[in-house]
């Protein structure tokens, strides 16, 4: 009950987390932001699903975050952008937020989902797309994909409550994290040729 009453709070949390992921505050910052982001996703999914089923999103998200973190030993310095890059990304994110705030009422009409669900979902999907478009590093791209899918899952939870879909989406999220960690580790693997 309390979760649904204050669900709109999850939206600014998602905005901050996705911004941290986009700008990049070292690897630890990224991992914390990803974990908190999944907490907010869980919050919004509880509006459509029972808490037990929605908890799958949280657990899977935290596991995905941990899998990605394990492939980044001592990578914190490489992740930090120069100030000009950070400013550029913040400005890009602000533009995306403006677009999302202007578009989300149409999504609400289309899907009959609530304001917080539509806004949170679109916000995360848009920021995920931005992350994918602005990064060439495999792990960053995978984080963008995970954010995009998490945003979609918030919306889709309001439309479909199938256990098999939830299970397969969880498997996809985990597999995506594993693929991300594989791609980060693959240059160090023994070559075939």
């Amino acid at each position: 009950m309390i979760l649904s009453q204050y669900a709109i709070v999850a939206v600014p949390i998602l905005m901050v987390c996705s911004l941290v992921l986009l700008v990049g505050f070292g690897w630890r910052g990224t991992q914390i932001a990803l974990s908190v982001q999944y907490l907010a996703v869980f919050w919004l999914v509880t509006l459509s699903w029972p808490v037990g089923m929605a908890a799958v999103k949280l657990v899977v998200g935290l596991m995905a975050s941990a899998v990605l973190a394990n492939t980044q030993p001592g990578a914190s310095d490489r992740d930090v952008l120069p100030p000009s890059g950070r400013i550029f990304r913040v400005l890009a994110a602000v533009l995306v937020w403006i677009v999302v705030f202007s578009v989300y009422p149409s999504v609400m009409t289309m899907t009959h989902a609530g304001e917080d669900v539509s806004l949170g979902s679109l916000m995360l999907m848009a920021m995920g797309l931005l992350q994918m478009g602005m990064s060439r590093r495999p792990v960053r791209v995978v984080i963008g994909l995970l954010s995009f899918l998490a945003g979609f899952e918030i919306l889709y939870a309001a439309l479909e409550a199938s256990v098999l879909v939830a299970g397969l989406l969880a498997a996809i999220n985990l597999s995506l994290a594993l693929v991300g960690s594989f791609m980060a580790a693959v240059p160090a693997l023994e070559s075939d040729r």
Binding site: L168, V179, V186, E190, D192
Partner: protein, 464 residues
């Protein structure tokens, strides 16, 4: 015995087992190719849901299994499809014994095929999107060579294929909503847009196809060819299934026009892209785009001829892509750069690989006497009956593609050396020769080789 367990569960289980023996290429080749051959023969000969008697042994392969309330169905109508998929799997895995595309090819490849078959079998349709995404994720390690950084082509492939997932799921949701509210035109438009975007990403339709030449240009040609043979081909089957299932979509008057315009753009971009390429691996990517364009064009004609052409194109397409990828691999193994400059004079040094590459290229282009020509001719005649403008653009794309092929031939034949050498290894020569003969055989005797392919589309009863 159960058909989904046999054709999905068993190969998937074996794929997981192959991870433990993947460093032993011979064993991995034997297991994966052998299993695919057995499954193809079973699909060809063993009827589903009927009593089979072998000596004193009586058994029945049932068509259905239920997992978490969802049905996986492989019935008799899907046997031609299963035969084709596993026969091609056999060819690809057998060829991999020579091509050596990387140790992850066998386990990931077999799992990839099993998941794509599962996507065809699952009901309702929307679950297919999730299974295809899992297949895509399984294919990424196969495309990333250990010891090398992940290429941008692989990343874009992952991104574009993953972006398809939400759109297909939303299309499934909208299609379900339309069944309860069939007069809601806004919902119809939304469903069509979601479906268009979802399949656009899956099939690498223009403008979502930039990753194709990038992927082929950077990844191992054999693994890239494997993925690009199976994924768009099977996604097209799903698209046909979707069209066949929903009347509102099938009867949409704008749909054929959309298909025709997009496919023509793909034919032109594929043809021109291949013609101006100096990198043969990237040209391979453009050849895939051209080929997918023709397949979409066949579906977009919305005639029985078009559907038959789509089915008949599958075998020549798979054969040509396999030969193209295999020939490029032989060039790489021989240390010859896969560029126009690099293959200069290669006809005298690597005659079988060079001839194989040319045969595959021109077959994909629809050159007379080669495998795709009879179907292409029928398709082009059907296009001419519907629109001359479309015909002009399709011919332009094809001719541009041929131009690239003749340039390639000129480069390969341009040699200062007098003598001939055969630098390919024995088994590679045998495989290349077999594939070239198969392409020539289909081209010369299409009436013998291609009618069997019609069984692939018989289950789409509403599209006939």
């Amino acid at each position: 015995m159960n058909a989904p367990v046999l054709w999905i569960g068993l190969p998937f289980g074996v794929a997981m087992g192959l991870f433990f023996v993947m460093r032993r290429a011979g064993l991995a080749t034997g297991i994966s190719a052998g299993l695919c051959l057995v499954l193809a023969l079973l699909a060809w000969q063993a009827p589903i849901d009927q009593l089979i008697q072998i000596g004193p042994l009586n058994f029945k392969i049932s068509s259905e299994i239920v997992i978490l309330g969802r049905r996986f169905v492989l019935d008799n109508s899907q046997r031609p499809f299963l035969t084709l998929v596993y026969a091609l799997g056999f060819a690809w895995f057998f060829g991999a014994g020579v091509a050596r595309p990387g140790r992850l090819f066998w386990p990931a490849g077999l799992g990839f095929i099993a998941l794509l078959v599962a996507a065809q079998a699952v009901q309702p349709f929307l679950f297919a999107a999730l299974l295809i995404e899992m297949a895509v994720l399984l294919s990424v390690p196969m495309l990333s060579s250990p010891g090398h950084t992940v290429t941008q082509g692989t990343l874009r492939y992952l991104i574009f294929q993953t972006l398809a997932l939400p759109f297909i799921l939303l299309a499934g949701w909208a299609a379900g909503a339309i069944e309860t509210n069939p007069n809601d035109t806004r919902l119809l438009i939304q469903a069509a847009i979601f479906m268009g975007l979802g399949f656009g990403f899956w099939l690498a339709v223009f403008p979502f196809n930039t990753w194709v030449p990038l992927l082929t240009g950077e990844a191992h040609p054999y693994t890239a060819g494997f993925v690009l043979s199976f994924l768009p081909g099977l996604a097209l089957f799903l698209a046909l299934g979707f069209l066949d299932s929903y009347t509102w979509l099938r009867d949409n008057p704008n749909l054929p026009v959309v298909f025709q315009v997009i496919s023509t753009i793909m034919v032109v971009t594929g043809g021109v892209g291949a013609a101006v390429q100096k990198d043969l691996k990237r040209a391979f990517g453009y050849a895939v785009i051209l080929e997918s364009g023709f397949s979409l064009l066949a579906v977009g004609l919305r005639t029985t001829v078009g559907l038959q052409a789509f089915a008949s194109l599958l075998l020549p397409r798979f054969l040509a892509l396999l030969l193209f990828a295999f020939a490029l691999t032989i060039f790489e193994q021989a240390g010859v750069p896969a560029t126009l400059e690099g293959v200069k004079g290669s006809l005298r040094r690597l005659p079988f690989a060079s001839a194989g590459l040319l045969a595959a290229y021109f077959s994909l282009g629809g050159l007379p006497l080669l495998a795709e020509f009879p179907v292409r001719q029928a398709l082009i005649e059907a296009v001419a009956g519907q629109s001359l403008v479309l015909l002009a653009w399709v011919l332009f794309g094809s001719l541009a593609f041929w131009g690239g092929g003749f340039r390639l031939l000129a480069n390969m034949a341009d040699s200062q050396e007098a003598g001939w050498k055969i630098e390919e290894k024995g088994l590679a020569v045998v495989l290349l020769s077999f594939a070239m003969l198969a392409i020539l055989f289909i081209g010369l005797l299409p009436g013998v080789a291609l009618p069997g392919m019609q069984g692939l589309v018989l289950r789409f009863t509403h599209l006939q």
